[in-house]
């Protein structure tokens, strides 16, 4: 049932925290708007307080506590020295395979939230069009750099 040509590794647990913080920030913005809407609804229509903000808070809570881990669990990767597999997606499952020899250049990046969680994002650029950038988030810095160095070594070995 599960499409898995190679066994996949899960992302670092730290990345779950990154996803949760990002999701929380997003929901806080929505919540702020909901609170404003709440005030308007209360003064104009005389509805009880929390009629808008309440459900938003509940949805946000459910999303952060239950849905985000589900999304995190869907991520997986495998580096076989010959190709990199990256799988993700909750509704639409996407599994991308990038042969090492097709990589044009590689980025390892780390945002402030990721730094606090000790994870990094590995981005592979290929010459393709629809899928020219393949992103693998949530791996440890060490692992990201190891993969990068391995790919770089393979590229410079390959005959041009």
């Amino acid at each position: 049932m599960v499409f898995e040509p190679v066994p996949l590794q899960p992302l670092e647990r730290g990345y779950l925290r990154v996803l949760r913080i990002r999701s929380a920030i997003g929901w806080l913005v929505v919540l702020a708007m909901a609170v404003v809407a709440d005030g308007l609804v209360q003064s104009r229509a005389g509805l009880p307080a929390g009629v808008v903000a309440g459900p938003v808070l509940a949805f946000g809570f459910v999303a952060i506590v239950f849905l985000v881990p589900g999304r995190w669990r869907r991520w997986g990767y495998a580096f076989t020295d010959r190709e990199l597999h990256v799988a993700s997606g909750w509704l639409m499952r996407v599994h991308t395979v990038v042969p090492v020899s097709r990589v044009q250049h590689i980025d390892v990046s780390q945002g402030p939230i990721e730094r606090s969680a000790g994870v990094a994002t590995l981005s592979l650029h290929t010459a393709g069009t629809e899928n020219s950038l393949v992103v693998l988030p949530g791996v440890s810095c060490q692992r990201a750099e190891d993969i990068r160095d391995a790919i770089r070594a393979r590229i410079s070995d390959a005959p041009w």
Partner: protein, 509 residues
């Protein structure tokens, strides 16, 4: 072609400017929009009570400023061939100096638009691998200068010995190599091929333009009617009144004519020639285009069979390229040919031949997915719409077409791993066949939506270079277990092959 100018190889010539007539051409090219704007402006100014004299003053000033600006642009644009590179300098305020290393030059192509032909000028494009379209464009120089540039640039490139090294076969590159004509389209075939390019869109465009002129110049509508009336009487007398020309018939006739005219304008005198490791095709009646496709730029081959022409055994050969004159995209190497004529071109393009017998069909669910997507859902939407707008029921009459497409879909969708290329066939109305050398597959993506997961099928996306926004060689709806095996086998082959084109060379900066 004459041998390269010896003096240029020795000492560099001083920087040159473009042909001064370029200013005039640029002005004339820009003028249609000005001319079309005049009636609007006139109407407005009359309403506001602005005197005609000041109107002319403003227009003269505008024209003057435009001319001065084009002159300045011309004055500050120079190009120079230095040893091992072409340098283009431009800009008055933002001064830009661009040097194009000889080793990056793929080829030099020459294009002549209708205006340029009148003045004997040509646009020279220096083809490099970069993504930027305007990387090296000299617009315009005299035709003789264009030929000279091509010769010189080719010779400095060859002198560096860089091109030969890039070719896997180690073929030597020589500018004066005779070209062999591979494919040529005569007028008869050209017109015949135009019949299949039936297009009602162009009719709509023509009527749109007429409508526009009608309003812009305040033509009397009756004038048009009279004209049509004359045409109709003429037609009726010729047809002896035996045939009643319905509106639909007229539209079909116009659609055919529009298709033929467009095809003749576009593909007039289509000639595909081949020298060493490159193809060169020329085409066009008013705008004569010459495009060079180097063999190593070719990423994949595609044979397209049209809805009607395909059934009659005609097909088009396209190749997807990365880098070069047209930057990236698909080039038509033969727009309308018999399969037997295509085989030698495919072989010369270094593309693996099609091995149709080895291809496998996709999952039976493929048809079902099509049925829900193109038939059941649209029908439901139409039924709902009909409840509001009863006329929408007419749309239901066309539903047999998507129904047929959905039912036949699986039959025409095949895939397989041939000796040295991935091959995919897809499409019911327009049938397409791809051959992608393993070296040119950039990445593979397996996608499974919720419905596909339920049915245990997956879509395998094949990413290639240079195919922005084009229909790609993807394989829809194959069995999950087969998908895993297929991707594994494909990756195995990808690793075993060196990159056919040097895609990496182009992009690694």
């Amino acid at each position: 072609m004459s041998p390269p100018d010896a003096s240029t190889a020795g000492e560099p010539l001083p920087p040159r400017r473009l042909d001064p007539r370029t200013i005039l051409i640029r002005f004339l090219k820009g003028s249609p929009s000005v001319i079309l704007g005049i009636p609007v402006f006139l109407a407005w100014s009359r309403g506001e009570g602005v005197p005609l004299v000041s109107l002319f003053a403003v227009m003269t000033l505008l024209i003057g400023v435009t001319l001065v600006l084009s002159w300045l642009r011309w004055r500050f644009f120079t190009y120079q061939i230095l040893p091992g590179q072409l340098v283009i300098e431009r800009g008055l305020i933002n001064r830009t100096r661009r040097s194009i290393p000889a080793e990056r030059i793929q080829d030099v192509s020459i294009k002549q638009g209708p205006l340029s032909r009148v003045f004997g000028l040509a646009q020279v494009r220096i083809e490099t691998g970069g993504g930027e379209a305007d990387e090296g464009r000299l617009d315009s120089v005299s035709l003789s200068e264009a030929y000279r540039l091509r010769e010189v640039l080719r010779s400095i490139r060859t002198a560096g010995g860089l091109v030969g090294a890039g070719d896997p076969e180690g073929e030597a590159e020589r500018g004066d190599e005779p070209e062999t004509v591979l494919f040529r389209m005569g007028l008869g075939r050209l017109v015949y091929s135009g019949l299949f390019k039936f297009s009602l869109v162009w009719i709509a465009a023509i009527f749109g333009v007429l409508q526009y002129f009608d309003q812009a110049f305040g033509y009397d509508r009756n004038q048009w009617r009279e004209l049509f009336g004359v045409a109709e009487r003429e037609l009726q007398s010729r047809l002896n009144g035996g045939v009643i020309l319905s509106v639909a018939g007229l539209a079909v006739g116009l659609g055919l004519i529009a298709g033929v005219v467009r095809t003749v304008l576009q593909n007039f005198g289509f000639t595909l020639a081949h020298t060493e490791a490159r193809f060169r095709y020329r085409r066009g009646l008013l705008t004569r285009t010459e495009v060079v496709v180097a063999r190593r730029q070719i990423q994949l081959g595609l044979i397209e069979r049209g809805t009607v022409s395909g059934r009659l055994g005609w097909c088009a050969l396209k190749v997807q390229t990365l880098g070069g004159d047209q930057a990236s995209g698909r080039q038509q190497l033969a727009p309308f040919a018999r399969p037997s004529e295509l085989a030698p071109i495919i072989a010369l393009a270094g593309l693996p031949p099609f091995e149709r017998a080895t291809l496998r069909p996709v999952s039976p669910w493929h048809g079902l997915r099509g049925l829900t997507g193109f038939v059941i859902l649209p029908t439901l939407i139409m039924l709902v719409t009909t409840a509001v707008f009863p006329l929408a029921a007419l749309l239901l009459l066309v539903m047999p077409v998507p129904l047929a497409v959905a039912l036949l879909r699986r039959r025409y969708h095949r895939y397989g791993l041939a000796g040295s290329s991935l091959q995919v066939a897809r499409g019911v109305l327009t049938r397409r066949e791809w051959t992608v050398p393993y070296g040119n597959v950039q990445s593979v993506t397996v996608r499974r939506g919720p419905v596909q997961r339920l049915l245990g099928i997956a879509t395998v996306g094949i990413d290639t270079a240079g195919g922005q926004g084009l229909i790609g060689p993807h394989i829809h709806d194959i069995d999950e277990a087969q998908a895993a095996a297929f991707v594994g086998a494909l990756i195995e082959r990808l690793e075993g092959t060196a990159t056919h084109s040097n895609a990496r060379c182009y992009l690694a900066e």
